[in-house]
């Protein structure tokens, strides 16, 4: 994958204050090209504020925020309700914030395995389909930074694994940076380079493995919870296709990845 040392985003000791209260403070966050950073933390910890700070929709009241010149952001919202009075097909949704060519649209839909949905109305899509389309929409104008706000919320496990796979594939093929917000502490994408554990300030940060064993993390989320914590891992012996089938390392395709056949269980998290 294309990974060099270009900083897309660099926050140093950044803070946001509203009504004489610090929403977040002392945030150090650095996202490089091709890097995946996940922010976790309880409700009200300032995850969204931090993401907004990084993207630049709010200003820092203290500290330093640097963004790569001409940074292009692709954003996947947590949830999106589209009023039924608004006629909106998938191909038009891809055009939402900028005009893109038909070719780009086709590529984006292909990348998420949904070329057949181009003319479907967004209101008719299932939850998993809609998530994929939102991802296609975010990547269609070739962003340098993909920002995802709890992308797998309310999505079943198979779709979740597939979305993570797609995100990784997009990162690999475009070299974009990825900033993900997750409130689900139990599952953090395995390809995450850095986890930022927030609670108004940074409790701890580092690789997924180092964070889950950090005492600050344990204090915040409780030791009893960590028994259930699982870092979602891909053993890269198979790829889940967008239609739900599984392509194994040997090229075969099956309906699912049976543990007996391929020594890999789809529910096989590493319990830490």
């Amino acid at each position: 994958m294309a990974r060099d040392n270009i900083d897309l985003i660099n926050l140093e000791n950044a803070g946001v204050r509203r009504d004489n209260r610090w929403l977040v403070r002392g945030i150090d966050l650095r996202i490089r090209k091709g890097e995946i950073v996940t922010i976790i933390g309880p409700n009200g910890a300032g995850k969204s504020t931090t993401a907004k700070l990084a993207v630049g929709t709010i200003r820092a009241d203290e500290g330093c925020v640097q963004r790569q010149a001409g940074l292009r952001v692709g954003y996947v919202p947590q949830k999106l309700h589209i009023d039924p009075a608004l006629p909106m097909r998938v191909d038009r949704l891809l055009d939402l914030t900028a005009k893109v060519s038909l070719d780009q649209k086709k590529q984006a839909l292909d990348a998420v395995g949904a070329p057949h949905l181009a003319t479907a109305f967004v209101q008719d899509l299932s939850g998993g389909e809609f998530q994929r389309i939102l991802l296609a929409r975010a990547m269609v104008r070739r962003p340098n930074l993909l920002v995802l706000d709890e992308p797998v919320q309310g999505v079943d496990f198979a779709s979740e694994a597939m979305l993570y796979n797609l995100i990784r594939q997009i990162r690999d093929s475009t070299g974009c940076g990825v900033l993900m917000i997750s409130h689900d502490l139990h599952i953090v994408m395995a390809d995450t380079d850095t986890v930022l554990c927030l609670n108004g300030h940074i409790c701890c940060s580092g690789s997924p493995d180092s964070v889950v064993s950090n005492p600050e993390y344990l204090r915040l989320f409780g030791a009893h919870d960590t028994a259930a914590l699982a870092v979602y891992r891909h053993d890269h012996d198979h790829i889940q296709n967008p239609d739900g089938t599984v392509q194994h390392a040997d090229g075969s395709i099956s309906e699912s990845c049976h543990p007996d056949k391929h020594e890999h269980n789809r529910d096989g998290h590493d319990h830490v």
Binding site: H116, D156, A158
Partner: protein, 287 residues
Amino acid sequence: MGMIMFDDFFIRALFAGIGLAVVVGPLGCLIIWRKMAFFGDTLAHAALLGIALAILIDVSSLIAVPFVTLASCVAMMIAKRTPSLSSDTILAILAHSTLALGLVLVSVTGGRNVDVNGLLFGDILAVDTNDLLVIYAGGGAILAIVIWQWRRLVAATLSPEIAEAEGLSPQRTEWLFMMLIALVVSIAVKLVGVLLITALMIIPAAAARRLVTSPEMMAVLASILGVVGVIAGLYGSAEFDTPSGPSIILAGALLLLGLTVVPRRLSAANDSTAHHHHHDEAGHDPK
């Protein structure tokens, strides 16, 4: 009806109505998508206050009406920051206070030569050449801005969050949208009156909804259906000797009814393709 259709005032009314209908088509769609019909109503009430002020202090309503509607927009934005009242409540307060104040002011001025009926329901047949100029120049400018900003307007409507993250500043777009509505209401108040402006904006848009597959198609069709409504309404009012403003709205409503009841075919066809996809998906789903 006879010769009335070739009279100058009838032709002027026709042109005025057609021009206005074209301009309000896309704006009406945005109002529907944003569920802001009551906002349009509030501005219409404020426009009445503008007319009353124009009479009272003897300035052109061309200045007084946009001034009051734009000021109402600002008042609304400020009041919205008061978290103790919902925006629905704020709109209602603003709408009815401005209407009440407007009517009181009209009576204070002695009601001389003021046709309250005309204020409430409009008098499109009284349109003069100057009014036509205002509609086509002002309306043309509004339409040009709407077309220029269309992608941003739709994006800010669909998801302010996405628009903001991707650098489109939806807050500014919302301001612009409110101002455009204020201006179009200022233009429209003379033609269809305070009580019917919102209907003029949203009925053609609602009628267009079932027949289209994109926001752009809906905007264009709303303008076309608005024009049809104006023509049908004006000829109807001449034929049956009914008031022009209400006749235009009624024609639009009948059009909406006809288009809603009759053609299920197009949307049924769309539904079936969408369901087909669903079926496909479900079939492959491993779970």
